[in-house]
């Protein structure tokens, strides 16, 4: 049984008094894998999480993110690889000795215990004294701003209140790690957005290291220091939100995060540099992109451009021929007004669709359905990736 850790002072300080090796990662996953009888759910995950970092595992359902979380919690034994928490190998440590707080999707509040008894549970398991339990429960209730609701049973609390109690229960014993499995998934949009900020603020305030699982990319972008994009049991890309959005390493990431225009073709090289060729259309690729993607001549590839990086100009606009710009002729199929932005659905000559988003009120010309226009983007705004389906 792990001893009660954490300061006896204010509610904060999950990590402040931690044995001082600030450089040691809070969590290290190496080659982590899990195979069930007939599926490979997690297939070689490597991840290093710093103390106090907020890392989100993001991916579609079945991509292995929840299985990874359950292996960290110890509910599922890995088939291969290692999990280290605070430098200690967890392979043979049962869940109740891992000292890891977890918030479940449905909160898993014990229905036969009151809110306060729920929060006291981990402290009782660690044989805290009665007076300490009382004090820490009160602190935890204050932390989530639910003073006075301690004597309620879970069923007497609203969804948002239950979520807060689950949070208080998971942090009250100052765990080494805080795991959250889509903890806001059951709430309506407005409450979810408010709680995103609250969970983020309190976690930072406590200095807690958080591993957060979600399939909601917006939630991931709002809350996380870093995001790990999961696909087919692997981490496809790991990085800050900006990295993922601006520099996706694969078609999957580009498609999964945000809206993308994906122009597929073949990668070609000539004396001037790299191109993406598609029928008789050819678009220049930035040298930096070319280096990063490291594609061989003639391989299937795609360039990805975010809708707000595309511009629409008149067919005879000089911008079409400007250096460092790619252009293509297109026709406007739909011009949609969405309040703060305008969204245009365009069709390229070969029938492919493209989406453009422009801020309203920027003094730009408005286009109508049926207009024949030039579609342009800066060469540096496009990302080159391999096209595995090409």
């Amino acid at each position: 049984m792990s001893a009660l850790r954490g300061s006896t002072g204010a509610a904060g300080g999950a990590t402040t008094d931690r044995p001082d090796q600030p450089d040691r990662p809070a969590l290290v996953l190496r080659g982590l894998a899990k195979s069930f009888v007939d599926v490979q759910a997690v297939d070689g995950v490597d991840l290093e999480v710093r103390q106090g970092e907020f890392v989100t595992l993001l991916g579609p359902s079945g991509s292995g993110k929840t299985t990874t979380l359950r292996m960290i919690a110890g509910f599922t034994r890995q088939s291969a690889g290692t999990i280290e928490i605070d430098g200690v190998d967890m392979t043979h440590v049962p869940p109740h000795r891992r000292d890891v707080g977890m918030i479940f999707q449905n909160y898993a509040l014990f229905p036969h215990l009151t809110a306060a008894q729920n929060i006291a549970f981990p402290l009782e398991m660690r044989r805290a004294t009665r007076s300490e339990i009382k004090r820490r429960v009160a602190e935890a209730l204050a932390l989530v701003k639910l003073e006075g609701l301690g004597s309620r049973y879970p069923r007497q609390l609203s969804g948002g209140q239950q979520q807060r109690i689950a949070f208080a229960r998971a942090v009250v014993f100052h765990p080494r790690l805080l795991l959250m499995d889509e903890p806001l998934g059951a709430l309506d949009k407005k409450l979810r957005e408010a709680l995103q900020l609250e969970v983020m603020h309190i976690s930072r305030q406590l200095g807690a290291t958080v591993i957060y699982v979600t399939h909601d990319q917006e939630e991931a972008l709002v809350m996380s220091d870093r995001i790990a994009i999961f696909s087919r049991g692997r981490i496809e890309q790991l990085g800050r939100g900006e990295d993922l959005y601006d520099r996706p390493v694969s078609l999957f990431v580009a498609d999964f995060i945000g809206e993308s225009n994906i122009l597929r073709g073949r990668f070609e090289r000539d004396g001037e540099g790299g191109w993406l060729a598609r029928g008789n259309l050819r678009w220049r690729v930035a040298a930096a992109q070319e280096d990063r993607a490291a594609l061989s001549d003639g391989s299937a590839a795609a360039i990805v451009v975010r809708p707000e990086r595309l511009r629409i100009v008149g067919l005879n606009d000089p911008a079409v021929a400007a250096p460092g710009v790619n252009a293509v002729e297109a026709s406007v199929r739909d011009a949609l007004y969405l309040g703060s932005i305008r969204k245009y659905e365009l069709m390229l000559p070969d029938g492919q669709a493209a989406t453009v988003r422009r801020q309203v009120g920027g003094g730009e010309r408005e286009w109508q359905s049926g207009d024949r226009v030039g579609l342009i983007w800066a060469v540096n705004d496009a990302v080159l990736v391999a096209d595995p389906n090409g």
Binding site: F36, D38, R232
Partner: protein, 300 residues
């Protein structure tokens, strides 16, 4: 799920993880040992006695079976058991289906009361209920006293010691076993189906016959099976309400063992009864899942 890469093609659905035996299984050892010693061993011993206990020394292990099937009286008992069980099942179905249907369409409060009306008899003593029928049906009982007093008849009409009496008592006792499985199935039928049928132009009775009735059939099968199987083994009720010619297998077994001390023929009959019971269950299990039939009793 589509993202998951199959490791082998042995099975299409996602299997649960873990070993074939887990530690929880150990908890079942003690109760299983208990049932083995005090329930299975007795059944095995009875079965063995049918081929080892003989009234007269014989070299034929199946002499008791030969003796049993050679007697027309014994076969009559067998036939009568089937006849009474069938009658009781029909009565139960005729009363039970409409009752379950009613429970399904009334307000939840009323349904709760109707359910209690089924559960009270379900759990109350079979002996007490049979005794009550005796008090009602016998020659000096409630019905005959009333009929005599009001000069409708001159002498008591035969109610007790008749097949009718046995059937009344057995149907009343078995009715809950018909109602509960049917109700359990009906409750799971989405009411939208009937509404959809109405929307598609089906008049109420057609909607019932074409949509609701077929969906409720698994419950009907489960209830019918349960009532029939239980009726085959009735003892107390036919003994108190029936005449000697209404004798059922269970009574035959009891009197063979208790009065004639003829364990050979008694256990032979027991094996036959057990065989009939399992035969009905096996045949029925081709049409329904047995656990549905018995599972529905759990929700009681």
């Amino acid at each position: 799920m589509r993202q998951l890469r199959p490791v082998n093609a042995r099975s299409g659905r996602r299997s649960r993880e873990g070993p074939i035996v887990n530690r929880w299984a150990l908890l079942a050892i003690l109760p299983i040992a208990f049932l083995g010693a005090f329930f299975l061993v007795p059944l095995v011993v009875v079965s063995l006695r049918s081929v080892t206990d003989f009234a007269k020394p014989t070299g034929d292990a199946f002499a008791n079976y030969g003796r049993f099937f050679a007697s027309a009286a014994n076969l009559r008992v067998l036939g009568n058991t089937f006849w009474v069980a069938t009658l009781s099942t029909v009565v139960c179905l005729a009363l039970g289906y409409p009752y379950a249907y009613l429970m399904n369409i009334v307000r939840p409060r009323v349904a709760g009361l109707l359910l209690i009306a089924v559960l009270l008899p379900f759990w109350s003593s079979l002996l007490v209920r049979t005794y009550a029928w005796q008090v009602i049906l016998r020659d000096t009982g409630i019905i005959n006293t009333f009929l005599l007093d009001s000069k409708v008849v001159d002498e008591p009409i035969p109610l007790i010691r008749t097949t009718l009496g046995v059937m009344l008592g057995m149907s009343q006792i078995l009715l809950p076993f018909m109602v509960l499985p049917i109700y359990a199935v009906m409750r799971r039928i989405d009411p939208e189906y009937t509404k959809a049928a109405a929307n598609l132009g089906a008049p109420p009775f057609a909607a019932f016959r074409r949509v609701f009735l077929p969906l409720s059939l698994p419950g009907v099968l489960a209830g019918t099976l349960l009532v029939f199987v239980l009726a085959l083994g009735f003892y107390i009720t036919p003994a108190l309400l029936g005449s000697p010619k209404d004798t059922m297998i269970s009574q035959f077994i009891a009197s063979a063992v208790q009065q004639r001390l003829d364990w050979g023929i008694g256990s032979t009959m027991a094996v036959i009864l057990m065989g009939l019971t399992f035969a009905v269950l096996v045949i029925a299990s081709r049409f329904i899942r047995l656990r549905d039939a018995f599972g529905s009793l759990e929700e009681s």
